[in-house]
Subunit: 389 residues, 2 copies
């Protein structure tokens, strides 16, 4: 019997939605038609040109270790993307290719947060960030944010909550679970303030490209020394390929490269060659088509949820999530998620997975499934709520 | 200018061979014909059935996140491999699929070593192990080993060096850089002793399959509670696919799965489907052919090195490395490596990359290149050493 376990390992939490997912699979194996509105990845397959580039790489035998920072062509292609998308000059030596944004976040926190230090971030937020920091024996300092701030940190909140052990601030724009953006003038003010306070700003731009109004700006446009995290997972539809990147000052990249060399050896090689094709015009056209489909789903889902009695206090600007306030329907969103699954065969993610602040009000709906399925879920809920009202 | 840097990041070291490699590429770009005997991965391309399975997975759209512990089919296939290869019953719930053995080592150390604790390991050894532990604010306790122990820890050495903060012992069998195996009776004695001492044994079996005499036993045959690390990188020729695994007791797997979920999300999906084909008879036949080629190279290289005045105090049992004692030719193997590169255009890895104990005597030669290249290197050295003698 295995009994030893480090404090570090004991502290790491798994996602609450995992038990729900397990139950969903059980129900499905019993023949139930479960609608999945909990999934955090696009339902679209990897785009054809990307898939073909991967196949060509395999046939060409490009399957050995690469430099730890990624193949030079990809570092250049990513730098070039900042030029075409944001009209911004990024040097390839500022680009570190990583095993997913997950790898990038681990490296950035490992570089910036000493044991006992904290990174400030909004509650609610992407749950793994807290776990990365725990893994490093550092911590996440969760700052409650609500509808008034559209669930994002502000310069004022950062000033108010800054402590001596705060190493920096993490923003995600658009955010998971809320889909909201940090407005450009706030981004500017925050970057300046964090710098004054002697900290480092990290901005997770994973859902860039998936915005449904104006394009998102990159934080690098207001401060070239910000650490920017991005990934091929979401907009580029490459979750399972495990490829992300990080933009940072060259000296920081060198330090993280040294860690990446030891921790990862290199990112997956075939994925890197595949990703080269993601910046081609034909691929980008496919991604734009998908973005439009997501926008249509968002509008349909938000509208449907509101008519059922959910509040959507901040219309999501991007990503593929709606963070819905279910407090008109339940005073315990966690149990509510379970009953949605058991009674209506709808899988969603409870607010509790994203933090503690008012988590029992909220439920995250993902629109990573087609309109037909979304409509089915809305109809099932309509039936239930009209019956109980 | 970026100035912040955690103590953790400052402590991580890069490989000394990296500067040599950079210089090797410079020389090549000037038209020099550099013979590469420093490379730590097979020169063979990924086997055809594995490559085809990857392509089929891509075409079938299998490119999304998988469970953090790997797809069930692969966990079963790995468990099944222990049955066919070692005649050993392993339950799929004991198998964790990871992003390379690198990922497995990080998770195992993270589970087993608390801050301030150490893992005992042989000096010389695989350099990343020390860095994983530093990353976790734990440490490697390097125990000098030499020709007398064939560069492996023994029960006696472990008993002698055990300290209160020792959390466990890491063995690699066959080892990098020496290729030596831990004999079965030592493995048994070590496992028992470590258990008595209240520690945990981890055995890195990455080079299993690549042995040139008897097959290696797995440590699980002497103790079912050992943590065993393995990978598709070396024997299966899949380095760039970034896929490894870990066998451990189910409760330990659950804890590591929770960490993997947060740190990695999942291993690369296409790689996992590709790896399923690695256990097919046609693939295994290819790997056996390659094993024979490596054996031939080993014999040729060891013989050649000896005739040049190198000592090979422990004939390598496996892997694709020769740890050669160059002390008849130099008293500083690090400078010797540089001069081999500059004067003879031969790239090798200095002992200093693998530890401190008598590191200045040793040089690691990899036979990850064909006989023609190996012969070329031997001839160049023959010319040089006959001239200086
Ligand atoms: C906000 C955010 N950051 C980072 C990640 C990690 O993504 P990946 O490692 O696939 O790039 C996710 C995944 O859901 C996310 O939502
Ligand atoms: C002894 C040993 N362990 C682990 C690794 C990591 O290999 P991978 O992450 O490719 O599985 C290596 C790579 O060279 C090694 O030599």
């Amino acid at each position: 019997m295995f009994t030893k376990c480090s404090q570090r390992a004991a502290n790491i939490e798994s996602f609450k939605v995992m038990d729900l997912l397990k139950r969903a699979r059980e129900l499905e194996s019993q023949g139930c038609d479960v609608v999945h509105l909990e999934v955090g990845e696009p339902d679209f397959a990897t785009a054809e040109p990307v898939a073909e580039a991967a196949i060509a790489a395999i046939r060409a035998g490009r399957t050995q270790y690469t430099p730890a920072a990624g193949i030079p062509e990809l570092r250049e292609a990513i730098a070039g993307y900042y030029q075409t998308r944001y009209d911004l000059n990024v040097d390839p030596v500022q680009v570190l290719v990583t095993p997913g944004a997950s790898g990038a976040l681990l490296l950035a926190f490992a570089l910036l947060a000493d044991t006992g230090q904290t990174f400030m971030m909004s509650d609610p937020g992407y749950p793994c960030n807290r776990q990365f920091l725990r893994f490093l024996q550092a911590g996440a300092q969760l700052v409650p944010t609500g509808p008034a701030e559209r669930f994002q940190l502000t310069e004022a909140l950062i000033s108010e909550h800054w402590q001596s052990q705060t190493a920096g601030v993490l923003l995600a724009s658009p955010s998971n679970p809320t889909g909201t953006l940090v407005p450009p003038e706030q981004m500017q003010a925050i970057a300046q303030r964090v710098r004054q306070l002697g900290g480092q700003l990290i901005v997770d731009e994973l859902y860039h490209g998936l915005t449904y109004g104006a394009d998102a700006m990159t934080a690098l446009q207001v401060d070239p020394d910000v650490f920017v995290i991005n990934s091929f997972s979401k907009y580029f539809g490459m979750t399972g390929w495990r490829l992300g990147w990080l933009i940072a000052p060259p000296e920081a990249i060198k330090m993280m490269e040294k860690m990446a060399q030891n921790l990862f050896i290199s990112p997956t090689t075939v994925s890197q060659y595949a990703a080269l094709a993601a910046f081609q015009p034909d691929s980008l056209a496919i991604f734009e088509g998908r973005r439009q489909a997501f926008e249509e789903r968002r509008n349909f889902l938000v509208q449907g949820l509101k008519s059922l009695g959910f509040a959507v206090p901040a219309m999501p600007d991007g990503a593929f999530y709606v963070y819905a306030d279910a407090s008109h329907l339940t005073d315990d969103s966690f149990n509510f998620c379970w009953s949605l699954l058991e009674e209506n065969h709808i899988a969603v993610t409870p607010g509790a997975d994203f933090g503690q602040f008012e988590a029992s009000r909220y439920v995250r709906f993902s629109y990573t499934t087609g309109l037909v399925q979304i409509e089915k879920a809305l109809q099932r809920m309509a039936k239930r709520f009209s019956a109980t009202r």
